[in-house]
């Protein structure tokens, strides 16, 4: 019963989206538009229906209704409740339903709350959103119906991919999805404003919180995904330039650029066309990301269930939306007036530098990700790995960091570097001293780790300078958000540079009782024991790590799952203030002489990478809260009329 109700709600919601779209079209044709007053109510109803459909599916997972195909194939009566609920979105159909539900609820929220932009632009925005939603409704209803029944119903259900039975991972994909949906809303705003010719500060202010929210989710998602890969894959790396990782990085890069340029548009009414362009690119990148992940056309360590037909559907949607949007862009952007002028040395100039560098990194990553596909089309088979990505992106990232040392201190419109001379000298001194110190301490560390450490130390100071001369209690929250996020970048880059420049690694084969040494740590393999879990068996090494008289136990495992069969490494981690000890044990040596392969790493300051990522997200959250408070205080009624 619940399944049928959910399915009916989806169909009705699709009808509402169609109504919004038709209403929006009559509005743009300039006709009488009897449908136009219906656009907003239709958005409310669509949001409510989708929320209901999603809750219905969650209910089916909660009661484990095995007569529903999706529940039967992804759940099990004995599964813990949290994983039963996570099963709602831990599969293709459910995750697409989540996608469309968040999209619809956000549309309803815009219709209800957004009062700053002209009603015509708002209606156009809602129509664009309904157009996007319609594509995904079609996808759900025709190609991935989550409410399909299974006759006869099985008795206990199939279970969930063991790798997904991890609390972190249960929440990782939806985090990225929220980010993607937020970018789709920015896209709708941009197309709406283009269509009604309302590209200006009011539009930018309406779009900004959505960009910010999307960016926060993407930042958290990428940080969490990186940490997951670090401890779960057991390769000791935190970024592999894997296609699926790149698929989440690309929208993040575009969103980061957009976040900065939209601020320029909101405060200074400049960078109009560029901001629109970035909004379109950001959404195109999140669609491309979804496509890459779901279609499996690129080989990746992330083994998703892959279905070429669904891949084709998402590809068609992606091409439809992005090419239509770029056609509208090409036809309409000429009518968008040039924004306010500014000089090269100014806050705007700094943000333009930020945007250029981020866009170049984006292009480099996109080319590297798609290149294997292009090469295969020409009959060549290659894969593009870290050597390319690191060489091509790190130098640009260095330039980006240099811009960040100065940009936030500059004044809007025009400024003079002479005003900043004390900081320029101070910053150069920090760079030089820390660079020389690192070079003295470790002459063969390599250029980029050295630059990374020097730049991050300078940035750790520079990040706080925008607060100088301000009364802290009267400083707007978004400024604090910016400061914290930029400081987070310093922390994260420091971790990356320290890890890549100073990690030590050793691979040995130990029999119980034998020891190995790594940078001052004495590591002894005490014993190896078999361990049994719910749906896996493992061998667990007992490692005793001793340094300066302190002794710690580490228990890395090598797990063998059944159903589906899969081997995973559970690394054992020991976190100290200045780094992390990382141990992995592998299945026995082939020779069969009673030794076990043990791989040990000492990774200085590696947790800083993720602390930094979280700080960046916290900065975003503070900025978002600041924007919301400010708006609640002075409701900008009909502000659009004054511009």
């Amino acid at each position: 019963m619940m399944a049928e109700a959910g399915l009916a709600a989806l169909w009705l919601a699709a009808a509402m989206a169609l109504l919004q779209l038709v209403g929006g079209m009559t509005l743009l044709r300039g006709g009488a538009g009897q449908l136009v007053p219906l656009i907003k109510p239709a958005a409310y109803v669509q949001g409510a229906l989708c929320a209901f459909a999603f809750l219905a599916l969650m209910w089916l997972f909660y009661v484990t209704d095995l007569s529903v195909l999706l529940v039967a194939s992804n759940s099990h009566i004995d599964k813990p409740l949290i994983f039963k609920l996570a099963g709602t979105w831990g599969n293709h159909e459910g995750s697409m339903l989540l996608w469309v539900s968040v999209l619809s609820v956000s549309g309803a929220a815009i219709a209800l709350l957004e009062k700053r932009i002209e009603p015509k632009t708002l209606n156009a925005t809602l129509a664009v959103q309904a157009f996007i939603a319609l594509g995904f409704f079609a996808f759900l209803l025709f190609a991935s119906n989550p409410f399909e029944r299974l006759v006869p119903a099985p008795v206990e259900g199939n279970g969930l991919n063991p790798l997904l039975q991890d609390v972190g991972l249960a929440f990782h994909p939806p985090t990225l999805y929220f980010g993607y949906v937020g970018l789709s809303i920015a896209f709708s705003f941009a197309v709406g404003a283009l269509l009604t010719n309302q590209v200006g500060p009011a539009f930018a202010r309406a779009m900004r919180p959505w960009v910010l929210a999307a960016w926060i989710f993407l930042t958290i998602g990428i940080t969490a995904g990186s940490y997951w890969a670090y401890y779960e894959l057991g390769w000791g790396g935190w970024w592999f330039w894997d296609p699926v990782e790149n698929a989440s990085l690309l929208p993040w890069l575009a969103a980061t650029a957009l976040l900065h340029s939209v601020s320029v548009l909101a405060t200074r009414n400049a960078l109009r066309a560029w901001t629109i362009m970035l909004a379109l690119v950001a959404f195109a990148m999140s669609m491309a990301g979804t496509f890459l992940v779901r279609s499996g056309i690129l080989t990746s360590v992330h083994a998703f269930a892959v279905d070429p037909e669904r891949g084709a559907f998402i590809l068609a949607l992606m091409l439809l939306y992005t090419s239509l949007a770029f056609v509208i862009f090409a036809l309409r952007i000429g009518s968008v007036k040039q924004g306010e002028p500014f000089q090269l040395i100014s806050r705007e100039g700094g943000i333009v530098a930020n945007n250029i560098f981020l866009s170049v990194i984006l292009a480099v990553v996109l080319i590297g990700t798609l290149y294997p596909l292009a090469a295969e089309a020409m009959g060549d088979k290659i894969s593009v790995g870290p050597p390319y990505f690191n060489k091509a992106t790190v130098p640009i990232a260095v330039l980006l960091m240099l811009a960040l040392l100065i940009g936030p201190m500059l004044r809007w419109r025009r400024d003079d570097l002479k005003r900043l001379k004390y900081w320029l000298i101070g910053g150069a001194a920090i760079l030089l001293c820390s660079g020389i110190a690192v070079w003295k301490f470790a002459p063969d560390v390599g250029l980029f780790p050295l630059l990374g450490i020097a730049l991050s130390l300078a940035l750790a100071v520079a990040a706080w300078l925008p607060l100088r001369g301000r009364k802290l209690l009267r400083t707007p929250l978004p400024i604090f958000g910016m400061v914290i996020a930029h400081f987070g970048i310093a922390v994260s880059v420091f971790g990356m540079a320290a890890e890549s420049g100073f990690s030590s690694e050793t691979l040995t084969a130990l029999a119980p009782g034998e020891s190995a040494e790594i940078v001052g740590w004495q590591v002894k393999l005490d014993d190896v024991n078999p361990v049994v879990g719910d749906n896996w068996v493992a061998i667990e090494g007992e490692l005793q790590a001793v340094k300066n008289g302190n002794s710690f136990m580490l228990r890395p495992q090598s797990r063998q799952f059944f159903k589906p069969e899969m081997q995973t490494s559970e690394a054992a981690l020991l976190t100290r203030w200045n780094g992390q000890f990382y141990a992995v044990i592998a299945q026995p040596d082939q020779e069969g002489d009673g030794r076990w392969q043990v791989r040990l790493w000492w990774k200085p300051f590696v947790p800083f990478i993720w602390y930094g990522g979280l700080l960046i997200a916290v900065g975003g959250i503070i900025a978002l809260l600041g924007r919301m408070f400010r708006r609640a205080k002075k409701p900008a009624k009909n502000k659009w009329q004054t511009t």
Partner: protein
């Protein structure tokens, strides 16, 4: 805007990427990495006999004007046991097969041949996988079609199954 055509560049990029993606979806995926040595002459090597009673293998032995198969196998490899009957079938069809045994011991190879029969003319022992890597082979079993002049013509990755036998016969005969 002085150059309106510039505005259409993003659309062109989308079209290009879309085309690539469509190609990627349309063409079935080939996950195997094939040897870069195909079309080239065999690298020079000379391997000792892998077991008593069967001669060892040198690259010169395979450039005698007669095309044949080169099978890379090991006695400890399960799929190699599974493909043994089909190698036997190939031999019955008149195809000559040479072999390289990877990281193996003479007594194990002898036991393997005892149990599954010996379809091979010569078997070289590659205890350090040096020749295997030179051939661009990454695992066992693999089977190469070698032309009469010692050129590597074709690489079959994985075990030979019943459906592969006619294809391999045809490839060897085509090389005559």
């Amino acid at each position: 805007m002085n150059r309106p055509w510039l505005l259409w560049i993003p659309l062109a990029v989308v079209a290009f990427i879309g085309g690539l993606a469509m190609y990627g979806l349309a063409v079935p995926k080939d996950e195997q990495v094939h040897s870069a040595m195909i079309g080239q002459k065999l690298p020079a090597f000379s391997l000792p006999a892998a077991t008593a009673g069967v001669e060892g293998l040198a690259s010169g032995d395979m450039a005698d004007g007669k095309p044949r198969l080169l099978n890379i196998f090991a006695s400890w490899c399960l799929p190699c046991k599974a493909e043994a009957p089909y190698l036997e079938a190939l031999k019955k069809a008149g195809i000559e097969i040479d072999a390289i045994a990877i990281r193996d011991r003479p007594e194990d190879v002898a036991a393997f041949l005892n149990e599954f029969g010996n379809p091979f003319r010569r078997i070289g022992s590659d205890s350090e996988m040096a020749v295997q890597l030179k051939l661009g082979s990454s695992g066992v079993p693999e089977t190469y079609v070698i032309g009469g002049d010692g050129t590597i013509l074709y690489q079959h990755i994985g075990d030979i199954r019943a459906e592969h036998v006619p294809m391999l016969i045809e490839k060897v005969n085509a090389a005559k």
